[in-house]
């Protein structure tokens, strides 16, 4: 007589557990899709391109090996203005990958002996991602920027050197929209007063052509 209610209870518990599991799985998928979209990828397009589940998708590995010349900005020898320098970067399918490659180039010394790179060679970042609204977020490792000169002028050159380089249309790939602004984070947090000590990075920064030296090449 008591077997029927027991079976019914067990079935109910099983159904609830299954529903909960499905719900958790659904949220995991949503979170994953959200993360992919944050890094400038379209999860639906990725799903179409994936040939089975065995193909790994790593955000940092460029999916195309084509090299392309893009301008990045370095500081002039007198530290007044920004000058474009052409660098070859592996041009990928995702805007954020191209930005990553350009950011890596910004750390390298200038092609000329006299001009200066806007980022020290020691500069490292924890994360780089592109939001839907065109905001490129760079989370720098704070300690890696300790050697940067701290004054309003030098910080402005560093910030606008990065922003003017990474917001260029030439970095826009077929996946991911254009970069409109750059938001700077340091150690995962909004900038404090220690670095940068003078420039206000509490808001995303838009490109500023006023810092680019007007030459025949830039006009």
């Amino acid at each position: 007589m008591s077997d029927a209610p027991n079976k019914s209870n067990l079935r109910s518990i099983g159904m609830v557990a299954w529903a909960l599991f499905t719900l958790v799985l659904f949220f995991c998928v949503l979170l994953l899709a959200n993360e992919l979209m944050k890094s400038g990828r379209n999860p639906l397009e990725l799903a179409e391109n994936v040939d089975g589940l065995s193909v790994p998708v790593t955000p940092s590995a460029p999916s195309a090996s084509e090299l392309r010349d893009v301008p990045i900005y370095v500081a002039s020898a007198d530290g007044r203005m920004l000058l474009p320098e052409r660098r070859s970067i592996p041009f990928g399918e995702f805007t954020v990958e191209n930005c990553r490659a350009a950011l890596d180039e910004l750390r390298k010394p200038s092609n000329t002996g006299s001009n200066m790179s806007v980022l020290p060679a020691s500069a490292e970042y924890n994360a780089l991602f592109l939001t839907e609204n065109g905001e490129l977020v760079i989370d720098f490792v704070t300690s890696s920027l300790q050697t940067t000169a701290k004054s309003t002028g030098s910080e402005a050159l560093m910030v606008y050197g990065i922003v003017n380089s990474l917001t260029q249309d030439v970095l826009r790939a077929q996946n991911g929209g254009p970069v409109k602004t750059v938001r700077f984070l340091f150690g995962g947090e909004a900038p404090g007063e220690s670095f940068p000590a003078h420039f206000d990075l509490s808001q995303p920064i838009a490109p500023n052509a006023a810092w680019i030296l007007k030459t025949e090449a830039t006009q």
Binding site: D78, G79, T147, S154, A197, H198, A210
Partner: protein
């Protein structure tokens, strides 16, 4: 003893209690009409408006005063634009600072909005129209008397609302924050303080210079801005620093001004314009004093500008990372030239503003 007993014992009149209660709960019409009058040449301006208590403060309707004086008032998202006698004054509700075509000054109490009406304290009516529109408005009908004879005292040059312009001189860094240091060991905090102290000294006769720090002490940027806005109640801010670079090559001085406004706020736009005017004036005067051309006058979203409520500039007096310039920056004679240049620039700006 309850409240009413206390009121009776302490001889607080019922009328005063009524004012107090009304003051607590907002605005209410209480008092009598107020008359203001002014004479500009042969023209006489008068207005008679009803005094109202707003938040316990005897106030009058700004719209009504302006209307009777023949001007116009436009209210747009927290900002009031008054046009009168060919001049315009921008008033931000809740703020005591006024920027007009003629002047930039402060009134005692902020203008307030209540039931679609803009109220201004009775005591602020004359200063607003006198400094904002050069009207020489007086309480009562005194202005209906014969015209003022020439030679009577007017607003002195380099003064705002009857007082000298307050120039906040901010010596960069200090205390545990030395700022940048040069190859020979010179520190930005010491250089900036030495120059700031001299600038303050040189400005004494013309303006009211106030320092954010007068000794080697650490102050955060937020504290500096707070002091400039609230404690020191400055009219303009000049922050003194040195430049720095990862290379020993860059040299020269540079001036940084408020960035272009992001919102259509007339007061902000005027602040930016004045910041640029001050920056250009300082750059020109420093060129004259040192014989070296300025590296430039740039607009940047600097931390110190982020909450600043006055025109401000940052002066980077020279590159401490350049060995030759480091030696100059610690030299008292060169510091005097830099200080003289900054002070001359501020004076030229002030004179230009009050003319």
């Amino acid at each position: 003893m309850n409240f009413w007993d206390y009121a009776r014992v302490s001889k607080v009149s019922q009328r005063s209690l009524l004012y107090f209660c009304v003051g607590l709960f907002g605005a209410s019409a209480i008092a009598e009409p107020r008359t203001f009058s002014a004479r500009v040449g042969e023209d006489v301006y008068t207005c008679t408006v009803e005094e109202t208590s707003v938040g316990g403060l005897a106030s009058v309707s700004l719209k009504e005063v302006v209307r009777q004086l023949g001007g116009q008032v436009r209210v747009e998202s927290g900002a009031v634009r008054v046009t009168l006698l060919g001049a315009t004054a921008n008033i931000v509700l809740g703020d005591t600072r006024i920027a007009s075509t003629h002047n930039e000054f402060t009134i005692q109490h902020p203008a307030r909005e209540f039931e679609n009406e803009i109220f201004i304290a009775v005591s602020d009516v004359a200063p607003l129209f006198n400094y904002g529109f050069k009207l020489n408005l007086q309480r009562g009908d005194a202005a209906l008397a014969p015209p003022v004879t020439p030679g009577q005292p007017t607003v002195a040059p380099s003064s705002v609302a009857g007082r000298k312009l307050i120039v906040v001189i901010d010596a960069g860094h200090g205390g545990t924050d030395p700022g940048e240091s040069g190859p020979a060991g010179a520190e930005e905090r010491t250089i900036s303080l030495a120059i700031a102290l001299r600038v303050a000294e040189l400005l004494k006769e013309v303006c009211t210079p106030v320092l954010t720090r007068s000794q080697d002490q650490g102050i955060s940027t937020r504290e500096r801005v707070g002091a400039a806005n609230v404690t020191l109640r400055g009219d303009v801010l000049v922050s003194i620093h040195t430049g720095a670079s990862s290379s020993p090559v860059p040299s020269g001085f540079e001036v940084f001004c408020l960035p272009p406004p992001t919102a259509q706020d007339p007061r902000l736009q005027m602040m930016v314009q004045r910041s640029l005017a001050l920056g250009q004036s300082i750059a020109n005067a420093m060129t004259g004093a040192t014989g070296t051309p300025a590296r430039g006058v740039h607009q940047v979203p600097a931390l110190i500008f982020s909450s600043l409520q006055m025109p401000g500039v940052i002066v980077e007096t020279g590159f401490i990372t350049n060995p030759t310039e480091e030696a100059l920056l610690v030299n008292a004679e060169y510091q005097e030239k830099l200080a003289q240049g900054i002070a001359n620039g501020v004076v030229a700006y002030v004179k230009g503003m009050t003319q």
